[in-house]
């Protein structure tokens, strides 16, 4: 059991206040915390009554949510001495949760999220180009290298998020950094990956390298423009997936774990009337 609890984790167990079905909201909150690594693989969740209290839901709602998470393979319950609910990192289930979340949002929500992220990260990149020291430049290069080394979707989500956080820190702005951390937590819930994950990652990697090169050249205008373009492309890709998923919020556990970028696009092609 890790001793340290970061600020991101405090939010995980904060009361829920969104209008979605209560047990669904619990599933989403815990699911994204697992996806972000805020709750580690194998970590034990607090006792049911404590968890229900801190999330502000009834124990029966929490049980419903835990049983949903158990069906998805994200939580494992062990009985007896030393028993309890333990977290399991299970990629397909996390992807399914992500897609359900994307479907709940309107494309305008995604557009706005992308625009706001471009504003924050674009400004951060411009300021980083003016202010980054040699040591901070090295950290940026290392951050992009970690993204290059990532081989799983979870690792890509995490390393890309950390790249943006490093840029904001190099900008010498506490406010931009905090905003970026918040945005990354929100975005990581939503990022979808095409079946051609390697191709997408390679393209993204090239864009990040170009930004870091512009920062190194102290070309703030270029760093900003490239960052905005990169985020713009990701936003469009996300909206495309969102639209292709269709309006049905039917959340079949087995089915949507398999929905990939290409099958989602395929559905779109089959239904030109949409």
């Amino acid at each position: 059991m890790p001793a340290a609890i970061g600020t991101g984790r405090q939010a995980v167990f904060a009361p829920l206040d969104d209008g979605a079905g209560r047990s669904e909201a619990v599933v989403r909150r815990l699911g994204s915390a697992i996806a972000l690594g805020l709750i580690a693989d194998g970590e034990q969740l607090p006792a049911e009554s404590d968890l229900a209290t801190s999330l502000g839901v009834a124990t029966v709602t929490l049980r419903e949510a835990l049983s949903d998470l158990r069906r998805r393979g994200l939580v494992e319950t062990r009985r007896g001495r030393g028993g309890g609910s333990f977290v399991r990192v299970f990629e397909p289930a996390l992807t399914a949760l992500t897609q359900r979340r994307v479907r709940e949002l309107g494309s305008a929500d995604l557009r706005e999220l992308g625009e706001f992220h471009a504003a924050v990260a674009g400004t951060a990149a411009r300021l980083a180009a003016e202010r980054a020291t040699a040591a901070e430049m090295e950290r940026l290069v290392a951050a992009v290298d970690r993204y290059a080394d990532a081989t799983t979707n979870a690792a890509r989500r995490r390393t890309e998020g950390r790249y943006y956080i490093e840029v904001a820190a190099a900008a010498q702005s506490v406010r931009l950094t905090r905003q970026e951390i918040e945005l990354q937590s929100e975005l990581a819930e939503l990022q979808l990956f095409p079946p051609d994950t390697t191709g997408w990652a390679t393209a993204t990697l090239g864009r990040h390298r170009a930004v870091v090169a512009a920062v190194g050249d102290r070309d703030g205008t270029l760093a900003r423009r490239l960052t905005e373009e990169c985020i713009g492309l990701r936003t469009l890709a996300m909206i495309e997936v969102h639209l292709s998923l269709g309006p049905t919020p039917g959340d079949t556990l087995d089915g949507d774990a398999d929905v990939s970028w290409s099958t989602a696009k395929g559905e779109l092609d089959d239904e030109p009337s949409r």
Binding site: A3, A4, G6, R9, G37, R126, E130, A135, R157, Q172
Partner: protein, 261 residues
């Protein structure tokens, strides 16, 4: 301009005494850590997390004594010193309006988006490598305190073993607030504002050229001072045993680090 105001050593002396006050507190904390260790060893106990609990009263006293400049202090224990722990962050902050320090909680899981990477942090790696004290910053302590900081650290070594670093976090704004009035006293006036300029431009930069503190809006904390930014006639003075340099110019610095259209 009087020659008294133009003497960089007076400005440097003020900065040095503030720096030495912070490192003094860090040094006391190091003594306490070493005492903790000796106590544990004399009881024939292996060093454990619980032994560091003994530090807390002393740490609290140090934080109270220096709360005008320091916000947090503590120790980051190196991997392998405590059984089963990579790093341990035993770091306490005295938040405004509070009497009791609160523990800084960071995420030490490398698989997390919020991972606080001690190994690659300059405040840890430099004292470990050089065996000497160090000041990092100004920098944004992302995913840690989320503050804009100067972090003063020193290595803790016992019987040839590196145990970790002890240190103090100084918010850039507090450092400035402590230093600038003293600088103004030296110069006989406050700041460099418009036509009422009574003091030369004085600033401290770190080894990377980043402005640590400045009495002029032409060079702000966090900006980079490029070679072209300092006008001819700038006096430079290295501050002893810290990676800082004091710059003084009777004339104006050009605006630094900002994009020229």
């Amino acid at each position: 301009m009087t020659s008294r105001a133009a003497d960089p050593t007076r400005y440097a002396a003020t900065a040095e005494s503030l720096v030495e006050r912070v490192f003094g507190a860090v040094g006391l904390l190091r003594e306490q850590v070493l005492d903790c260790r000796s106590n544990a060893l004399s009881r024939r106990e292996q060093l454990q997390a619980k032994h560091f609990a003994e530090l807390r009263p002393g740490l609290s006293a140090l934080l109270h004594a220096h709360r005008d400049v320091v916000v947090g202090m503590g120790m980051v224990i190196a991997p392998g010193i405590l059984r089963g722990e990579r790093h341990r962050v035993e770091w306490w902050q005295l938040l405004p309006g509070r009497d009791q320090p609160s523990a800084l909680r960071v995420d030490l899981n490398p698989e997390s988006l919020g991972f606080y990477d001690c190994d690659s942090a300059e405040w840890f790696s430099v004292p470990r490598r050089t065996g000497r004290r160090h000041i990092v910053g100004p920098y944004v302590d992302a995913l840690g305190t989320d503050r804009y900081l100067l972090t003063f650290t020193a290595p803790v070594v016992a019987d040839g073993t590196f145990l970790g670093v002890v240190g103090a976090d100084v918010p850039v704004a507090r450092f400035e607030r402590c230093l600038l009035p003293a600088w103004a006293d030296r110069a006989g006036g406050m700041g460099n504002v418009g036509a009422g300029k009574v003091a030369p431009d004085v600033l401290i930069i770190n080894s990377q050229g980043r402005v640590v503190v400045s009495n002029s809006a032409r060079a702000l904390s966090g900006e980079l001072l490029t070679d072209e930014s300092a006008v001819a006639g700038t006096v430079r003075l290295d501050l002893p045993d810290v990676p800082w340099q004091l710059l003084l110019s009777e004339r104006l610095f050009h605006g630094v680090g900002r994009n020229q259209p």
